[in-house]
Amino acid sequence: MSAAELSTATVEAAAQRPRRRAARRGAPPGEPRRVAYLYIAPALLVYAAFLLYPLGRALVLSLYEWDGLTLGSWAGLSNYHQILTDDRLRSSFLHTAVLVVFFALIPTAVGLTLAAIVARARVRGLAFFRTVIFLPQIVAMVVVAVTWRQIYAPDGPVNDLLRLVGLDGLTRGWLGDFTFALPAVGVVGTWVATGLCFVLFLAGTGKIPRELYDAARVDGAGAVREFATVTLPALRNEIVVALTLTVIAALRTFDLVYVTTSGGPGNATSVPSYEVYRRAFQIGEVGSAAAIGVTLTVIILAVNLVIARIGDRA
């Protein structure tokens, strides 16, 4: 995960800012100071030069057809139009939808289950489970990819297991299979994201007053009803955050695809981020790459807003 993924959920935090400022107006306020600009200037300078400016440049580049070497030519919105019409590009965005299931929905469901178990049963060795289940989050994605390539290899553990139980017919090179390559990449996402969801929900359940559980039990609620009436509603915020982070992680999958499949076989595992790289640096379609990048950015901003909205309404 990256900083970009991490605090996308912070838009919500920022949205609360005006309220907080109003509340503070009576109390000793932050002092009005012009020196503030001097404190901000160095950070802002680097930020503007290496993030804001390139972002603006990407917008401009996306309106040109440019091979990266010779003079570019004006292309209007044709690079964006291409995203809708080009089969390869369109399917790269559709693949992302499949990845969302594996990167976001399954980990959220599993994380909720695990957190509910912990909240209910007062498990011993919680620190151990948390440390271990979160571990995949901190390992470099390239290492993760190299590792899972071995696991999916024709003579790897997955196929060994299938042979062991007599399902020899199902063995295959999973990452080279047109049907199974994308879900195989997805499972890696599930492996990485589950720990993130788990610790987020764990932090959330820790804040639920025990009396709520006691009350539910007095009412004779079983594990399932207790989950539905106590745990789930209390975790609303954490679920919103977890979904935001994991959906964006799915949208931004790059390292994993680059190292495991390079988008293949064919373009079975091609994703938008990979298309950005391929077009800009391998086949000299810089304008198209920029347009995909801008589209990706817009989608990420939209996902933030939409999920935050749903969270507010729920």
Partner: protein
């Protein structure tokens, strides 16, 4: 109280997922120490040494260390200062500036790396440490400013007042009083930034071609391309690349987990 059967089931489920999380990592460590049929790897710790030399992971680690340490130092220093201004001062355009910086947390690397590469190339800056470090500092100060601002907002006004009565200016108040009190928040920020920078792949992939500048994850990806048969050395390389962050995590996991949880839910 829950029934004994339910308790058992709870542990079984938790253990199953712990095993799922650990299994791939155990597999790769096991491979890293195994001998190779091809005879490229002799097994044991010798594999790590071979990967270090043959795979040039020593060089990659050095490059990663330079990039990560410089990025962390620069980004943390700049973030503390800007977070201090946003958290304790009032000035015109504050909200707009803060939102502008917050935007940087959401902008994906993919979109900025394309123009950045071509612009830095025309300035002759690709294939330098600057090209690896400065874009990552820019990304890190976005999160860092947000993170430090939250700390300074929560810091005690009384402490600041007392410092001022003692004649401390804003600079001393920051570095002598608030920064030392905020050490836990700063340590967490440092660790998260270090992890993100160490693990970053796309920026080094695009920005450098020189082997001496390759960071560890990039080196590993290239190594995989070369040694398709030598799985043991590849696994050894993977272990070497992952180890620094894993060690930090095992010793300081509270910072990692709390940092991620608070960084994403705070507000």
């Amino acid at each position: 109280m829950t029934s004994a059967r339910e308790r058992t089931l709870s542990y079984v489920i938790l253990l199953a997922f712990a095993a799922f999380a650990l299994y791939p990592l155990v597999t790769v460590v096991d491979l890293a120490f195994s001998a190779d049929v091809s005879g490229q790897a002799t097994g044991g710790f010798a594999n790590l040494g071979d990967a270090w030399v043959q795979g040039r992971f020593g060089t990659y680690l050095r490059s990663s260390l330079i990039v990560s340490v410089v990025t962390v130092l620069l980004a943390t220093f700049l973030s503390i200062m800007s977070g201090y201004a946003f958290g304790t001062m009032r000035f015109a355009g504050q909200t707009l500036l803060f939102y502008t910086i917050l935007l940087g947390i959401m902008v994906p690397t993919e979109v900025i790396v394309v123009p950045l590469y071509f612009d830095l190339r025309s300035l002759g800056l690709t294939d330098t440490y600057a090209a690896l470090i400065l874009p990552q500092v820019a990304q890190s100060v976005a999160f860092g400013t947000f993170w430090m601002r939250a700390y300074f907002l929560s810091s005690s006004r009384d402490v600041v007042e007392a410092a001022r009565l003692d004649g401390a200016g804003h600079w001393q108040t920051l570095w002598r009083i608030l920064a030392p009190i905020g050490r836990p928040a700063i340590v967490t920020l440092t660790l998260l930034t270090f992890m993100w920078t160490w693990n970053e792949f796309l920026i080094p992939l695009v920005m450098v071609t020189s082997e001496n500048l390759r960071t560890a994850p990039l080196g590993l990806a290239f190594f995989q391309g070369q040694y398709t048969s030598g799985v043991a050395l590849l696994a050894a390389g993977a272990v070497i690349v992952a180890l620094p962050v894993v060690i930090l995590y095992l010793f300081l996991q509270r910072h990692f987990i709390q940092g991620i949880v608070e960084g994403s839910t705070r507000g």
